[in-house]
């Protein structure tokens, strides 16, 4: 085989040399095969073996694209009525959420599900509660084009943004194709990839700083693993990497009442009966900042969310002491957003 390859290469070189000579003599144009681009490298995210892995700051992001994304994230021109920006619901000063059970769309009506935090969204294996988008880029179409959310369209966005010559010039400098839907999405997604929050007390604890956690938080972590919470809430994101049914040990929706279409969760995407009431397990990073909780925003406080999860997922009524410890642990997952250099 190697001999054959060498032979074919030699034959190719001979024929290329002869062809080049012929071309030099003006015999015509050759058809040179365009070299194929190499396969993209595998993702280099660090992978740890414990239930929860420490988080690292975002790296390898294009600074110009990130800055474009940062500007667009707060740009109300992306919405149909020119009043809403991504940052309206994903308030970066408020844990990446707006604190409402249901954010309000362009028409002032509450949306179907609670707004998930944009911080650490890049760690999620799918986007949205029902996991219908595979990537951050694909996710952007969801709120932007939904008439109830931002109520816009790509022609409108491009037309509006295109009138901003300075912005259009920056796009032209950062992207060969300039201002296009794909590039707007890429800029926004690049910025969102920067929104990771490392250096939480629990990250420092995992890195060997035993003083980073209070005794309550350490006890809470023990409970978190003993009670089986870490079976779903695990990995770098402490969640966000799998689907799970809400209401494993007790019927959450019967207890809450008023079931809505959004409560069907993953079923709305797959139409598979097994996916009824199945949702993406949310990341618990910064969970202390992102009240109210659950996909329906029905649980106002973190202790209430811990009790609800224990009841519906484990079938257990927790003691106040256990709730206190678990909340202390969850509070230790609050990290800091460091602008990538």
């Amino acid at each position: 085989m190697q001999l054959q390859e060498a032979y074919s290469m030699l034959a190719r070189r001979v024929s290329r040399a002869v062809l080049a000579a012929l071309l030099a003599l003006g015999c015509g144009e050759g058809a040179a095969a365009a070299p194929a681009a190499l396969a993209p490298p595998r993702s280099d995210a660090p992978v740890e073996l414990g239930p929860i892995a420490p988080l690292e700051a975002a790296k390898h992001l294009d600074p110009a694209r990130l800055e474009l994304g940062r500007q667009l994230f707060a740009d109300v021109r992306l919405s149909g009525n020119g009043k809403l920006a991504c940052a309206t619901c994903h308030d970066l000063g408020h844990g990446g959420v707006d604190g409402r059970p249901h954010s309000l769309g362009v028409g002032g009506e509450p949306l179907a599900v609670n707004t998930p935090s944009v911080f650490n969204a890049s760690l999620n294996f799918r986007q949205f509660w029902d996991g219908r988008a595979l990537t951050l880029e694909a996710q952007i179409d969801g709120p932007l084009l939904n008439p109830a959310e931002m109520g816009s369209s790509w022609p409108r966005v491009l037309d509006t943004l295109g009138q901003d010559r300075e912005l259009a010039a920056r796009f032209a400098r950062s992207y060969p194709q300039g201002l296009t839907p794909a590039n707007v999405k890429n800029a926004l997604a690049t910025f969102e990839r920067s929104l990771v929050t490392p250096n939480a007390p629990f990250d420092r604890y995992l890195s060997g700083d035993s003083g980073a956690l209070s005794a309550d938080a350490r006890h809470g972590y023990e409970l978190f693993t003993t009670y089986g919470c870490s079976s779903c809430h695990q990995g770098r994101g402490v969640g966000g990497n799998m689907f799970q049914k809400l209401g494993i040990m007790a019927d959450y929706f019967a207890a809450r009442g008023n079931e809505t279409a959004a409560d069907l969760g993953r079923f709305n995407v797959t139409h598979d009966e097994a996916d009824r009431h199945v949702f993406k397990v949310p990341s618990l990073r910064n969970v202390a900042l992102t009240a109210p909780y659950l996909h329906d925003g029905s649980v106002p406080t973190l202790p209430d969310a811990v009790r609800a999860m224990a009841r519906f997922q484990l079938g257990r009524d927790l003691s106040d002491g256990d709730v206190h410890a678990l909340v202390a642990f969850l509070e230790s997952l609050t990290g800091t957003y460091a602008v990538p250099r």
Binding site: M1, Q4, E5, Y7, S8, M9, A11, R12, V14, S15, R16, V18, L19, L22, C27, G30, A31, A32, A33, A34, P35, A36, A37, L38, A39, P40, R42, S43, A45, V47, E48, L49, G50, P51, I52, A53, F125, T225, T226, Y227, G228, C229, S230, S231, Q234, G235, R236, N241, M242, F243, Q244, K245, I248, M249, A274, V278, Q313, L314, G315, R316
Partner: protein, 287 residues
């Protein structure tokens, strides 16, 4: 002076040489493309092996998070969804169709594998949840009741359920099921609400362990038995065959080019000699 036949032969040789060179340029294997496509197939094979290994590691708790499986999913998507690598251009249309069909079969199986892996992660999490929670739950239930018969049943159920979690077999499952029924009957008659609730919860997680273990192992078996390796090897085999065919053709083309080049060289030399002789004869006749 120089016969028409020689000119014709020369023109024919030059035309054949040109045609062969152009044909070879179009159909000979481009090593850049070949390496890129071979790399894609190799990466795919490595990822398939990684994914099976990572699923097994997750099932047997050698790892306690799903980040590795998530990373595998990203890698598969990076290779197969966003990749600019295509079947090399030297592959003929018929061969290309066959390879594309094999790759399409592979892609369909990869999508099915990802669906099953998501199912596996959810079911395995349920199993792990109950396995990690069950021992403390059973211990708590034992403490809450003073009835020695109930305590004995709870202890027996704990032993059987932990055995079920570790091993398999219809007899073990039957024994656990019988113990669940026995304890369930005893618990229903228990007067203490708190103790009864503790036992019922213990029973619920014991049932979950039995059911989830069967479900999880069933899904894992389906993942491992998917004929994804065969589909990938099919594409690999078809591509290797196309590459070998193109390489052989290139070799023959090379030989033919060399032969034609020599023939052309001979004819040009012949023409040159004839012209030189003619020039000498012309010179002599002018003297």
């Amino acid at each position: 002076m120089i016969s028409r036949a020689v000119w014709r032969l020369s023109a024919l040789a030059a035309a054949a040489l040109t045609a062969t060179v152009v044909f070879n340029e179009r159909s000979a294997p481009d090593q850049h493309e070949h390496q890129a496509f071979s790399q894609l197939l190799d990466d795919t094979r490595a990822l398939d092996q990684d994914m099976a290994r990572h699923a097994l590691e997750a099932r047997f708790q050698l790892v306690s998070n799903y980040d590795q499986l998530t990373k595998d999913d990203l890698d598969v998507r990076a290779i197969h969804d966003g990749s600019p690598v295509e079947v090399p251009t030297f592959v003929r249309a018929g061969e290309r169709r066959a390879i594309a069909q094999a790759l399409s079969r592979y892609a369909a199986l990869a999508r099915e594998r990802q669906r099953l892996l998501e199912d596996f992660k959810s079911k395995n999490a349920l199993l792990k949840n109950s396995i990690s929670y069950f021992p403390s739950l059973a211990a708590g239930a034992s403490k809450q009741t003073r009835d020695p018969v109930l305590v004995a049943h709870i202890n027996e159920l704990r032993a059987l359920t932990l055995n079920v979690a570790l091993r398999s077999g219809p007899q073990l499952l039957l024994a656990q099921s019988q113990e669940i029924s026995a304890l369930s009957g005893q618990a229903a008659a228990h007067e203490d609400d708190k103790a009864r609730h503790g036992i019922e919860l213990t029973l619920a997680h014991a049932r979950t362990i039995a059911a989830s273990k069967a479900d999880t192992d069933g899904v894992l078996t389906r993942i491992l038995e998917l004929p994804i390796g065969a589909a990938r090897e099919d594409a690999q085999r078809l591509y290797s065959k196309a590459y070998a065919r193109a390489a052989t053709e290139a070799r023959y083309c090379g030989l033919f080019v060399a032969a034609m080049a020599f023939a052309l060289l001979g004819l040009v030399t012949h023409i040159g000699l004839r012209l030189r002789r003619a020039a000498i004869e012309l010179g002599k006749s002018n003297e």
